[in-house]
């Protein structure tokens, strides 16, 4: 086991963690600002992936296809929030059940429309070489995307009018409403933001993870666990838990099978929740 090999494992683990963060951020935003977990998050990613696939096969250049997919998924999120989530405010378990139903309905709809196997998109796969090994440069690009996405979301929630209002509403919905903040509209926007991030994830990951109806399930195990392990300070917390557990999981997976990576993630989450039942960021003073 030489140094090159270790470097490759480290880099690919880092990029897996980046993929996880990209796939998780939308979930974390919704959880942090609305207190619910969207169990259909994986299918929102799948929605974005198919939207980008359809757009790019109809001739749109890939960057534009990503943008279109992001917007389409966000718009879909608005519909879901208005039709389903809104009716279940304050009913946490019912929200979980309803979004779970949505998850399977979306999955089956995708099977009906696209079949279970779909063509990938023709992206030239460039690689970089480390010693005897090669790495896809797209995965390295994704590390940059993950960092940019984290920073962007952080700035959006701390520096914009919407972000400040939304964070006020989550801390004390009643006071926020009394001060004239429309919490209902904010929730719609937050859910749209979370959905948009999921759609973006599906689209930007498309060259590396081909669109399939079941792709959502592959992402959500780690995404759910990362968010739950992160706790109330979702953005920073998820970056921490997703980063560390994600790296540990993909290291494990690279030496054994994928499922062992998931098991490491699962056990790691259980251990974190053992010490901090509300997530690792339970007692942090910061708010994002």
């Amino acid at each position: 086991m030489d140094l090159d090999y270790l470097a490759v494992v480290a880099l690919s683990s880092l990029s897996s963690a980046a993929v996880l963060l990209i796939a998780t951020l939308g979930l974390a935003v919704v959880f942090g600002l609305m207190g619910v977990i969207n169990l259909a998050h994986g299918e929102f990613i799948m929605f974005g992936a198919f939207a980008a696939l359809t757009a790019s096969r109809s001739g749109l250049p890939f960057p534009l296809a990503v943008a279109a997919a992001t917007l389409a998924t966000a718009a879909f999120g608005v519909v879901v929030e208005r039709v389903v989530i809104r009716r279940l405010y304050g009913r946490l378990l019912d929200t979980l059940l309803a979004t779970w139903g949505l998850s399977l309905a979306l999955y089956q709809t995708a099977v009906l429309i696209f079949g279970s196997v779909t063509p990938g998109i023709g992206m030239p796969i460039s690689t970089i070489a480390i010693g005897r090994y090669t790495l896809s440069s797209y995965f390295l690009f994704l590390i940059g995307i993950a960092v940019a996405l984290l920073l962007g979301t952080y700035l959006l929630l701390t520096r914009t009018h919407y972000g400040i209002m939304a964070r006020a509403a989550v801390q004390d919905a009643e006071t926020a409403a009394a001060m004239g903040i429309e919490t209902g509209r904010l929730n719609t926007m937050t859910f749209a933001l979370g959905s948009g991030l999921a759609g973006f994830a599906g689209a930007i990951l498309l060259p590396a993870f081909p669109a399939t109806p079941g792709m959502g399930f592959a992402f959500v195990t780690k995404a759910f666990l990362a968010v739950v392990a992160a706790g109330p300070v979702t953005i920073t917390g998820t970056a921490l838990t997703g980063g560390t557990l994600g790296t540990a999981a993909s290291m494990t997976a690279s030496f054994s099978a994928t499922v062992f990576g998931d098991i490491v993630f699962f056990v790691g989450t259980l251990l974190i929740l053992w010490w901090w039942p509300n997530g690792i960021s339970d007692r942090w003073r910061r708010k994002l």
């Binding site: 389903v84 139903g101 309905a105 759910f224 699962f266 039942p277 997530g279």
Partner: protein, 625 residues
């Protein structure tokens, strides 16, 4: 039918029977087991008149009903939404299958192998996961997510898992075949059951499991489960180890799921990772939602409805468009029919004036016909414990809520804690009780250092608290509330009834014993809460604003009650009502900004200018103190 099945006291033997013991009353009291037995017998007996293929398929509906029952146990009764029931079902099925393949040839009979192995495997796996969930005190969201990811991991894991265990070959995606078909006979010549025999066997097993669960739910165990669902903190403050209680319930659900899995394996003679799939995992919540949460038998109705519907519409339960329909059905159920078909039907009947909507199931109302006349209070000849708090501190974020407080409350004495809002009074009580962890300092109860003990252990050691927010089990009858509290300490139904009856008289609510706690006025709920604390017979009692919401005369009666208790127990009272504090005539500690500010009798404090200053921000106008 719902009402009759749930009817019946959990502690019948503890209370005198209703005087005119008519045949109808007797039938009602036995309905919980008679009706399921009759239903089971009727359903099993119908096997002779039904087409064998339909019988074969219907057998799986009964098995799925058991699977739904396992979720209704943990979710409907215990409030724990688990998405992992099919994982436990699959584990039970696989392990039972492995054992049956290897050992069933020895006996011919498969059931004696598969049922216990399935139950043990399901219960064991549930206990393992449940240990982490409940002993780390995860919240409801975390619990659901952990159970769901558990299912997802098993799904991906089993697809690639291959092993050979004795004669059994677990072939990953190919599944495990050659599971012996359900066989009831013994010996080498025992033939596998035909469709009718299989149906009857499964119905009998399901009836037996249902009866066992229904029986357990009528025991104190079931009442505590319902109490935990309504208010887990209050249940812990009565001295119950809520973690253990939830673990036991989850393991029970796991055992039922495992039995269902074992039956499924013997029915299908084949298992594959599909039993762990998300599509499969979606089914139990739908069964329970269709049948109505918490009714137990509703799970069977749900499984029958879903299974029957997809049978007559064509196609199996899983596969095809069923997933789409079921997914949308789940959304629709949650939004439109939270009470399920059974609940909706009952509401419809009620609107037509044909039935009354029982907002509170009779089981939780108690149905206690007779409450024993209270015997005289036995004289307490114990010294009682003292409560000593030393240098205790607690900060929330940047706020020092409690700052290096030292207090000693001698056995049998009364102490009032007063102070402006935000002085740290409630936090101090919560620290004493173990509802918050102190940053530093010690809490001693008698000779024991309890600062690190969980709350229920402190209660068992003789500490009782009535929190600021009234905590009673709103769905339960007044009498049941008290009984649950008394049972926590005594662990004996009859003795608990005696103690509860005494508390009922002490708080003057005997006339309303059978009403649900939610029907009481706020002041009466406060009394009920205090009455539950009295049932614990604590040696140190913490009362946080016991007179909030009480009328003047109610406040006077509360003061008299506290004075009567003094001498038997050390009492700490937090209150804003100076009239009430004056009536108690006790030593007073003034807290200010988390620290002890002054201490003395009411007369001494009245002369203290500084105390007057902090109370109103300036001197003068403090006629109240």
């Amino acid at each position: 039918m719902v009402a009759e099945r749930d009817l019946g006291p959990v502690a019948t033997e503890a209370v005198a029977a209703r005087a005119p013991d008519g045949a109808f009353d007797r039938a009602q009291r036995h309905a919980w087991w008679l009706l399921p037995c009759l239903t089971g017998a009727l359903v099993a007996g119908s096997a002779g008149f039904v087409d064998p293929y339909l019988l074969y398929v219907a057998t799986s509906w009964v098995i799925f009903g058991l699977l739904g029952l396992s979720l209704d146990i943990v979710w409907g009764k215990g409030g724990i939404l688990s998405f992992g029931q099919t994982a436990l079902y699959g584990i039970g099925g696989y392990l039972a299958g492995i054992v049956a393949i290897n050992f069933a040839p020895l006996t011919g009979n498969t059931l004696i192998w598969t049922l216990p192995v399935g139950a043990l495997a399901g219960a064991g796996a549930a206990a393992l996961i449940g240990f982490f969930i409940f002993f780390s005190r995860m919240g409801p969201l975390q619990t659901t997510i952990v159970t769901y990811t558990f299912t997802l991991i098993l799904w991906t894991g089993t697809v690639s898992f291959t092993a050979r265990i004795g004669e059994a070959v677990v072939g990953g995606d190919n599944g495990m075949s050659n599971i012996p078909m359900l066989t009831a006979g013994f010996g080498a010549g025992a033939a596998p059951l035909g469709p009718a025999g299989m149906f009857i066997t499964v119905v009998l097993v399901a009836t037996a499991v249902y009866l066992a669960v229904a029986w357990l739910m009528r025991r104190p165990f079931g009442l505590i489960v319902i109490a935990v669902r309504q208010d887990d903190v209050k249940t812990e403050l009565l001295g119950y180890d809520v973690r253990r209680q939830r673990l036991l319930l989850f393991a029970l659900g796991g055992a039922v799921a495992g039995i269902a899995g074992a039956l499924f394996g013997g029915w299908a003679t084949y298992l594959n990772p599909n039993v762990f799939s998300v599509q499969q995992a979606l089914l139990p919540p739908i069964y329970v939602l269709v049948g109505g949460r918490g009714s137990l038998f509703g799970a069977f109705i749900g499984a029958l409805a879903v299974g029957g519907l997809s049978f007559w519409l064509g196609g199996g339960v899983i596969g095809g468009q069923t997933t789409l329909v079921l997914g949308l059905a789940l959304i629709a159920l949650v939004i439109l029919l939270p009470g399920g078909l059974v609940g909706a039907a009952r509401a419809l009947l009620a609107r037509c004036g044909l039935a009354s909507v029982a907002a509170i199931p009779p089981a939780t109302l108690g149905g206690y016909a007779g409450i024993p006349a209270a015997s005289a209070q036995t004289a307490l000849d114990r010294p009682g414990k003292s409560l000593t708090v030393q240098g205790i501190s607690k900060a929330f974020g940047g706020v020092q809520a409690v700052d290096d407080v030292t207090l000693e409350i001698g056995s049998g004495s009364v102490r009032c804690l007063i102070g402006p809002n935000g002085a740290g009074k409630s936090t101090l009580l919560r620290l004493c009780m173990g509802l918050e962890r102190p940053d530093s300092g010690s809490v001693r109860l008698g000779a024991d250092e309890i600062a690190r003990w969980p709350a229920f252990a402190r209660v068992q050691a003789g500490l009782g608290i009535k929190m600021q927010r009234t905590q009673v089990f709103y769905e339960c009858a007044v009498w049941t509330n008290l009984w649950i509290a008394a049972y926590a300490r005594l662990g004996d139904a009859r003795a608990a009834a005696q103690t509860a009856a005494r508390a009922l008289d002490q708080i003057g609510l005997r006339g309303r014993a059978h009403e649900p706690a939610s029907a009481l006025a706020h002041g009466e709920q406060q009394w009920l809460d205090i009455g539950m604390v009295l049932c614990l017979d604590p040696e140190v009692i913490l009362l946080d604003e016991p007179t909030a919401g009480m009328t003047a005369s109610e406040t006077r009666r509360t003061a008299a009650l506290v004075r009567a208790l003094a001498g038997h127990a050390a009492i700490v009272v937090v209150d804003h009502d100076m009239e009430f504090v004056r009536m108690l005539d006790a030593r007073i500690t003034v807290l200010h900004q988390g620290a002890v500010f002054a201490e003395g009798t009411i007369a001494e404090l009245r002369r203290d200018e500084r105390v007057l200053d902090i109370y109103l921000g300036r001197r003068g106008g403090v006629a109240d103190l």
